[in-house]
């Protein structure tokens, strides 16, 4: 098991290094990069030239960049926003996290419960209803759902007065209004996450319920209830545990779509702005952030497989 963990960590680390290096190199190859970063002012030009290590082989530049990052304790400086990237991130990530956390937390029990219900009542009415719901919200993209929700909630039914999130509102003064403006984006995220979870849970549980060892549980004399609780649910939920853990990690990264549709000032929006403004350092910093988060999630998922599956835990056994 220890070997497994170390192996996975080493692999992920190498992969991350390679990918970030590729991203770095590619960015440097962008034609507008040099002017944009180095600027036109000849003084700073020379200073930056030296500092960033231009004119040296690309590998060296990469290490210089890393070294600079560690020395300065940051990810560089945004061009357009004229601020340190880490500060920008520190400001915006919590906004995204606040938005992501509630749908995630609520979607877990609801999604799993619906999936279990559908699997236990397979092919009956409730299963069909749930399955139809699942397929609708999996197929229709969240920006469609979000936009339609905005239209109906704000303009037709007049439940909310604005389709967008009020992030700047003074919570003390207008607490209720501030909270409710977050309801719509959270609901859209909630729907998406629930349907994904329900679908997987239903599929896994169904497969377990029709397997041979469940039959043996019945012939042992266990009631259907005992067999389901003690065996089916455990075996069925095990495959989805890694995905759930991975989902937890991705609370850190913002959903670009939701933040765009509802004008949430989170980390996703920053990337879009950076992209539209050709703000290369910011793009680079954010890409690195996303890459690391993604790989970290993958790592955690892999490790959790190791914990859950006894075959891996025990080093594939004696036979």
């Amino acid at each position: 098991m220890k070997n497994y963990v170390l192996k996975r960590i080493a692999l992920i680390f190498i992969t991350a290094a390679i990918i970030i290096f590729l991203e770095f190199t590619f960015m440097k190859m962008l034609p507008q990069y040099h002017q944009a970063v180095l600027g036109v002012d000849p003084e700073t030009f020379d200073m930056l030239y030296e500092r960033e290590g231009y004119g040296r082989p690309i590998i060296e530049q990469f290490f210089i960049w890393i070294r600079n990052m560690i020395q300065d304790g940051g990810l560089g400086r945004s061009l357009k926003l004229k601020r340190d990237i880490v500060l920008i991130m520190a400001e915006r990530i919590p906004v995204s996290m606040r938005l992501n956390i509630f749908p995630y937390v609520f979607s877990l029990p609801v999604g799993i419960a619906l999936g279990i219900w559908a699997a236990l009542k397979k092919n009956k009415v409730i299963d069909h209803v749930i399955s139809i719901g699942v397929i609708i919200f999996i197929s229709v993209p969240s920006f469609v759902v979000g936009t339609m929700l905005q239209y109906y909630m704000v303009y037709i039914w007049r439940i909310f007065d604005t389709p967008f999130v009020l992030a700047d509102v003074d919570f003390a003064a207008d607490f209720w209004r501030g909270i409710t403006s977050y309801l719509m984006p959270m609901f859209v995220m909630f729907l998406g996450e629930v349907s994904g979870l329900t679908r997987v849970t239903r599929a896994e549980l169904t497969e377990v319920l029709t397997s041979d060892f469940m039959l043996l549980c019945r012939t042992k004399g266990l009631t259907k209830r005992q067999a389901t609780l003690r065996h089916a649910l455990r075996n069925g939920l095990v495959p989805i545990a890694p995905a759930i853990i991975g989902g937890f990690i991705s609370i850190l990264s913002g959903s670009l779509i939701i933040e765009q549709v509802f004008r949430v000032p989170g980390i996703g929006g920053v990337y879009l702005e950076a992209f539209n403004n050709y703000d290369y350092p910011l793009i680079m910093g954010l890409l690195m952030f996303y890459t690391v988060i993604g790989l970290f999630a993958t790592l955690i998922i892999d490790l959790s497989y190791g914990v859950i599956d006894p075959r891996i835990r025990m080093g594939a056994g004696k036979r």
Binding site: S139, P141, F143, Y155, I283
Partner: protein, 441 residues
């Protein structure tokens, strides 16, 4: 027990050679069998029909209403913007409130009081600063606005009524009047600084000078006066083309890589697996944005972005399939008979995987469409050739209060497309792999 006839107790087939009974049912091939199973799934068949319809429309749609090409014509563009944000109108269906060409406007009472009856002003509500919300026949309203609107303050013709024609346009108007005997010019004016500032019946003007047969937008018009019906299908066409191309390319690459990896195993497999791991760590966002930053926004770049890492999933799937089947006895038999590797891979192993592959192909396409529409909604993808459906929706979101149809039609299109693909794909999967569905309990 009734008296049994003694004659019945005679041996009848003692000396005949007994053959296997003729199989009563006709033998059906794998695909025919799958097709029969597929047909039984009503939802999937329905989804398939919708899919075919949507694909068909994306091909012929832009041609159907091609009477309106104003926005493509260089000199016509400036006139098209006058027709922006018009609600949908379908002649046959204008008794339906949605397709009647009506639009809600908000303004002060005097803005609406002097409109002619043909505009059909209906008052809906009054708000607390004295403004009226009315429903008008917007097509008629637009015509009046650019032809004969009276300014409520001055009681003279509103400046918006006046149209500045170039010399060519003016002559064309005169020529059309002469030839067809129609009155287009409502108020003439002399040539002034190379142009004529006149008042025309706007729709007639468009009809006779720019060949706009009739100002009617089935799905309404967008913010630049383009026919939403046409550009929706044009955008659909591009999205579908991209999706199918990407799917095809990724499938081919994926199958080849997966087959090699799965069949040969060993070091080849290990190397490919490591490479795949690194590639899969590349966030798609990074690939897409970096490529666009470097090479700009064209269809080929987008396709390239999708095909950089899109084949990984398929290659993993193929690899598993090959692993599963390469140990079977018939492969060994084929090899002992002298078949070379390629033959074994293509004739013996691959056909087994086809069912699963077709299913994953069909379920893969909607994921591509999903990604593509998401990124075009965000504005990252932005074709020069046509407006993607996602972008249409994003544009619509800005004006959704007054012109909801600009959100509705793209939304409906995407929803139906995705739903149909997913249902169709599910039906295919169940048809090819009945064991996955589970026992009918």
């Amino acid at each position: 027990m009734a008296e049994l006839n003694k004659e019945k107790f005679v041996l009848v087939q003692q000396d005949t050679i007994l053959y296997d009974e003729r199989i009563k049912t006709k033998s059906i091939g794998y695909y025919k069998d799958a097709w029969l199973r597929f047909k039984k799934n009503k939802a999937s068949v329905f989804a398939a029909i919708i899919l075919i319809f949507l694909i068909l429309m994306s091909v012929i749609g832009p041609w159907i209403n091609s009477g309106y090409e104003l926005a493509d014509n260089t000199s016509g563009i400036k006139w098209a913007t006058r027709l922006k944000d018009m609600p949908p109108k379908v002649e046959g269906l204008d008794w339906l409130p949605f397709f009647s060409g009506d639009k809600e406007l908000t303004g002060y009472p005097q803005n609406f009081s002097n409109l002619p009856d043909s505009v059909n002003v209906r008052i809906k509500s009054v708000n607390n600063i004295g403004q009226l919300t009315v429903v008008v026949d917007y097509y008629e309203y637009t015509r009046v606005r650019y032809s004969a609107l009276i300014d409520p303050e001055t009681q003279l013709f509103d400046p918006e009524c006046y149209t500045t024609l170039s010399i060519a346009e003016y002559e064309a108007v005169k020529a059309a009047e002469a030839e067809y005997g129609v009155t287009i010019l409502l108020e003439d004016a002399p040539l002034l600084a190379g142009s004529y500032r006149v008042r025309v019946d706007y729709y007639l003007f468009l009809q006779y000078v720019y060949d706009v047969e009739e100002v009617v937008f089935w799905f309404g018009s967008d913010g630049q006066g383009r026919d939403l019906f046409t550009i929706l299908w044009e955008g659909a066409r591009i999205s579908l083309m991209i999706a199918f191309s990407v799917a095809l390319i990724n499938i081919i690459i994926g199958i080849i890589v997966g087959a090699i990896s799965g069949y040969f195993g060993g070091t080849v497999d290990l190397v490919i697996e490591r490479l795949s791991e690194v590639l899969s760590g590349l966030p798609f966002l990074a690939i897409l944005t970096l490529l666009i930053l470097r090479f700009g926004n064209s269809i080929w770049i987008i396709i390239m972005a999708f095909t950089m890492t899109g084949w990984l999933g398929i290659s993993a799937l193929t690899r598993t399939q090959f692993y599963r089947y390469k140990r079977r006895e018939y492969v060994l038999a084929a090899r002992t008979l002298g078949a070379n590797d390629i033959r074994i891979m293509s004739r013996h192993i691959f056909p087994n995987a086809v069912g699963t592959l077709i299913t994953s192909l069909v379920l893969y396409i909607p994921r591509i469409i999903f990604s593509e529409s998401t990124y075009s909604f965000l504005g990252i993808i932005n074709y020069a050739e046509a407006t993607s459906v996602g972008m249409l929706l994003s544009n619509g979101q800005a004006v959704m209060k007054e012109s909801f149809y600009q959100v509705l039609f793209p939304a409906l299109f995407i929803s139906f497309l995705m739903l149909s693909f997913n249902l169709f794909g599910n039906g295919l999967r169940d048809a090819f792999n009945p064991s996955l569905r589970g026992v009918e309990e």
